[in-house]
Amino acid sequence: MRLHELLMRSARRTPDALAVDDLSGGVSYRELDLLADAFAAALHAAGVTPGDRVVIWSGKDIDSVALMQAALRIGAVYVPVSAANPLARLVQITRDCRPALVVADADGLRRAATENWPRGDDEPSMVGATELLAAPAPSAPPIHHGTPDDVAYVLYTSGSTGVPKGVAISHRNALAFVTWAAAETGLRAADRLANHAPFNFDLSVFDLYAAFLVGASVHLVPPGMAYAPGLLTELLESRRITVWYSVPSVLVLMLHQGGLLDGAPPPALRVCAFAGEPFPLADALRLRAAWPDVRLFNWYGPTETNVCTSYEITADDLGRISPLPIGAPCAGADVWLEPRDGPEGEITVAGPTVMTGYWGAVPHTGPYRTGDIGRYDARGNLEYVGRRDHLVKVRGHRVELGEIEAALDAHEAIGTAAVVVIGSGLKARIHAAVVPRRSASPPTLLSVKRHCADRLPLSMTVDALHVMADLPRTPNGKTDRAALTARLTTAPRG
């Protein structure tokens, strides 16, 4: 079984069923299948061959979904990069994965034209999805089969040295998670899944492929709607969504500012899953109490392992006072703590969901050490405790503080910079402490935001700026983030 067969099988079984709807219109399985074929022919005609990478730089649209399927059909590896990534970060990604082609949506083409998309023999060419489809192409080559361990897609995530790193996921990796998740949630053809996460965030793998597996429909939430919790709540109702999957922050936002619990439970909702960060207990229990007929799942797993543990929140949890567990291993994964005998340890994962490696690095072998610290509760469920390094989560998005610091170091008015995150959940804020460059006037928050917007995804932009004469240092001269956090949380706001 290969990942692209999921859509093909459902297209044969239920050609007229709704496959994908991007809120401006939908396509049936037959239409999506034909569109994927047309894109496969076009990619082939554009010179893409098996093993090549195809970067898809776009918002949320049906073309992008068809392009991912098209790439797999000709044996290529797709690399989704959401429109929230600026051109400079797209270039970092293309220099890492060396794609045969970058396909952009209309907005991306416009951005590439007004900014400076690099041209040269060594740089990939960029084409619009519409233009790609319009170019004459002979029929698509036969469906590529390859092996289950071939890389299907690469998801770029924040890297501590300032360069994003590409997590390479094979067909086997993705299918292990998708087939488990569909079975666990009792997914069926009548289901209507919402896709909230961007395509380069691994949460979207469930929305798309679990839907394709069972012939259900997936409803793409446009990025602009992320600013409107009320609209998301409305969408649950008007689209009769049956399965919702997002980061907890989005649900908390809908709960506090989107009137999620004001009326009756969403009429069709039967499964609500979340992952990516801890769900504050009080809010999770409010959901549990308000929606007795909706199954709630707390899933855990970094991009490198896919979802590898699961905890279902039931009525038994209503009296809970300890944090929600991340649960027990799932999707065929082995999960344990290193060291095995301590009260706490590093969550370590082996099994079919673990990535093949980082793109361009030596292949990953053996168990994957997540960098997350865990412990077991009295019932043997795994609990998430924290991180052992400088990777933080801001509203579910993975952020390496070093990547932001590297971007800030390039600001004309900044000499040195240190970044910390203060607060958690919806209140998490990225604070930058900077020492201005000698002879430069101190930077302003707006200029720093502008600078970040050119280099980093929006989820990594600086929320607060502190101009300092010096940064706290550890005895061996490194920036002392703990001391900095203490200084920023006790000092008056500045």
């Binding site: 990025p223 600013y227 409107a228 919806l426 707006l446 502008r450 932009t461």
Partner: protein
């Protein structure tokens, strides 16, 4: 709606974004066409704060279907949205 009223409204919104959302750290760069969404001045939480300000201090409630990116692109657009919603029905 006179030009003066529009200018007043824009001034209020700029003041809020500068003093509240940017902690007074905007410098002179914040203008009516500063790209708020593109530069991450507005994210989901800050948009909610801006909506609360528009509701409480300007007296205009923005309905969910107007809460799409285009209306929050920059302060010119926000001003237009508020003025449009202020128009008496009839």
């Amino acid at each position: 709606m006179s030009d003066i009223e529009r200018a007043d409204l824009l001034e209020k919104l700029i003041g809020f974004v500068r003093d509240d959302l940017l902690n007074g750290q905007a410098g002179a760069e914040l203008t009516p066409t500063t790209p708020l969404l593109e530069w991450g001045v507005l994210d989901s939480i800050k948009t909610a704060r801006l909506l609360a300000f528009i509701r409480d201090d300007i007296g205009v409630r923005v309905p969910p279907k107007k809460m799409v990116g285009d209306h929050f692109k920059d302060l010119e657009h926000v001003t237009d949205l508020v003025l449009e919603l202020q128009q008496p029905v009839g």
